[in-house]
């Protein structure tokens, strides 16, 4: 242990490398002044909640710029580069523009639901941050059932999208929200099964406990369960409604999906909530699969919350990457992917993990022996299953299709024959 470096980290309140110093100093001050116990609880709750809301708000502003710049680079464009240095003030300009816009509401919309929907879409993402650990002692609510809390809070988003689509009284909005519901109902299953694998292996549903497990055995769960990681990543990027799976808004098909009728800051809230949800999903992935604030020896030198934010942005880059490079799925392809591939793979993963946990508990072999074996075995199985899927189950890839697929496979009753070389009027 590098003692010389460790001694740099002090206990002063102004040392932001461990943020618990600051909150601890404030709580000590209250206790010294004879403040009652409940005041200390209230103050620490407000500090934690304020910190999370500030982080979420900051992230929502910054990530508009990050996302547009990165996607721009990937698509050989520059991205926003006019407002301020490197276009950094672009999100501010966007926000001011959105606030100034008139908030229109269709006359036939049902007002209360129409207004409540964007709020209810934003809130679960902020809720979710409450249970995620930011450092060894930095977690706002270390719930014993943290994993279930994640699932419960994220399932509320479906209802909000439905409210938005239904209350708009617009057929495109309703199409969008029905697509979202169908997608969420399908993708909830692989998500739950993939997370069940993590819970089964770590033996705890507390997110702090899962990070501590990864720290104790010095292995991030992504190495132990690559299959669960991939399933969760695909499924959650579908739930997030981002481009490979953004059939809910699909602006080239159904205008804007569930937020067709929204304008002004109500639309802005939907837009911000999608960015927030992407960051929250990145945070969940970094907690569950990448070790959260732990990173081998590095968390002794660098404060955990900085490592954690680094990991969040690493995963967020993957999300931007998929968004910037992949075309949109059709809804039948997307649902078939969930039911025909992700769900069976997730069930296989559960069986595998259960067998491994049983071997670990019953055989008495040490973790130092078993974990490398599991890492190797699960990695090989994941690769084998993906290759098998591509070779055996997926439709054959044709670089130059020799016939119109999906068109003459559908039995169209009687199309008028068009003469070659001419187009129907």
């Amino acid at each position: 242990m590098p003692l010389a470096l460790l001694s740099i980290i002090t206990r002063h309140w102004y040392d932001i490398r461990d943020l618990s110093n600051l909150s601890g100093a404030i709580e000590d001050r209250i206790a010294d002044a004879g403040g009652p116990d409940w005041l200390i609880y209230v103050v620490s709750a407000l500090l934690g909640a304020g910190g999370i809301v500030a982080f979420i708000g900051g992230v929502a502003i910054i990530n508009i710029w990050v996302e547009r710049r990165v996607v721009g680079r990937m698509q050989s464009r520059l991205g926003p580069n006019r407002a301020g240095p490197f276009g950094l003030l672009q999100p501010v300009a966007d926000a001011i523009k959105l606030m100034q816009k008139e908030v229109l509401q269709p006359r036939t919309a049902s007002g209360l639901i129409f207004t409540a929907a964007p709020i209810m879409f934003t809130v679960p993402g902020i809720f979710l941050m409450a249970v995620l650990p930011w450092g060894r002692n930095m977690v706002l609510a270390d719930l014993d059932v943290g994993m279930l809390f994640l699932l419960a809070a994220s399932s509320l988003g479906a209802l909000a999208v439905f409210m938005a689509g239904y209350s708009s009284n617009n057929k495109y909005a309703l199409f969008g929200s029905m697509r979202v519901i169908a997608m969420l109902v399908s993708y909830e299953i692989p998500i739950v099964l993939a997370l069940l694998g993590v819970v089964l292996f770590t033996g705890t549903m507390s997110l702090n406990g899962i990070v501590l497990f990864q720290e104790q055995y010095r292995v991030p769960i992504v190495m132990l369960q690559p299959l669960a990681f991939l399933i969760y990543f695909f499924a959650v990027s579908a739930e997030l409604n981002r481009t490979p799976a953004d059939i809910a808004e699909a602006e080239s098909e159904i205008v804007g999906g569930y937020h067709t009728e929204y304008s002004g800051m109500k639309f802005g809230l939907f837009y911000a909530a999608e960015l927030i949800n992407a960051v929250v999903a990145s945070a969940i992935i970094s907690t569950l699969f990448l070790g959260g604030w732990w990173l081998y020896k590095l968390d002794e030198l660098v404060p955990g919350w900085m490592i954690y934010i680094g990991k969040i942005y690493g995963v967020y880059f993957l999300f931007i990457w998929t968004r910037g490079t992949l075309p949109r799925f059709r809804i039948d392809q997307l649902l078939a992917f969930a039911w025909k591939w992700l769900t069976p793979m997730a069930i296989l993963n559960i069986v595998l993990v259960a067998a491994e946990v049983l071997i670990w508990e019953e055989s008495g072999w040490s973790a130092g022996l078993l974990i490398p074996v599991y890492v190797a075995a699960n990695g090989l199985i994941a690769v084998a299953l993906i290759v098998a899927f591509v070779r055996l189950l997926a439709p054959k890839f044709q670089r130059f299709p020799t016939r119109l697929r999906y068109y003459d496979e559908i039995a169209v009753p009687s199309l008028p024959a068009t003469p070659a070389g001419s187009r129907p009027a």
Partner: protein, 170 residues
């Protein structure tokens, strides 16, 4: 713990939310709004579970009732014909009010008449783990029977809704 001021305040706020939302379910005209108030009422009940330190039950309440059941109900409302989508005037409101009043009276009577046992036991340390132990050790047979029952219901639903005619290319 249970006698704290904060807990008491939280209980009354949650109880008021639950009851007011439940009343709105009955009084609101638009059926979709009624479903959404029902979801809010479920969330209030989940909050009461939290106050009773039953965190697992609370989270499952939100997950299943506010998440799944509410979405299911919105689907049901969407699939009903548009004419039936509103709480319209009905001649049955009188008998319904009498019936609801009787149910309320019975519940209030039972609540007052029962001599509730108060134990000085601490809050459950970890309800999720102990529930899991209970399900998979002493009560494993009822648990499995229930899952078979759900499986039967699911297969029954698939069989009932399956269209006979497109069996060839489905």
């Amino acid at each position: 713990m249970i006698d704290d001021t904060g807990i008491t305040v939280a209980f009354y706020v949650l109880a008021a939310t639950t009851v007011i939302c439940a009343l709105m379910v009955a009084f609101v005209r638009e059926l979709i709004q009624a479903v959404l108030f029902l979801a809010l009422s479920f969330v209030g009940v989940a909050g009461i579970y939290v106050v009773l330190s039953a965190d697992f039950v609370a989270v499952v309440q939100v997950l299943i009732y506010a998440g799944a059941v509410a979405v299911l109900m919105t689907f049901a409302v969407m699939l009903t014909p548009a004419a039936d989508r509103h709480n319209s005037e009905t001649p049955f409101w009188g008998p319904a009010a009498v019936l609801a009043g009787l149910v309320l009276a019975v519940i209030v009577f039972v609540a007052y008449d029962t001599s509730w046992r108060l134990t000085g036991r601490e809050a459950f340390p970890a309800t999720a783990a102990s529930l899991g132990e209970a399900f998979l050790k002493p009560y494993v047979v009822p648990f499995e029977v229930a899952s078979v029952l759900l499986m039967t219901a699911m297969i029954g639903a698939i069989v009932l809704t399956k269209d006979e005619e497109d069996g060839a290319d489905a």
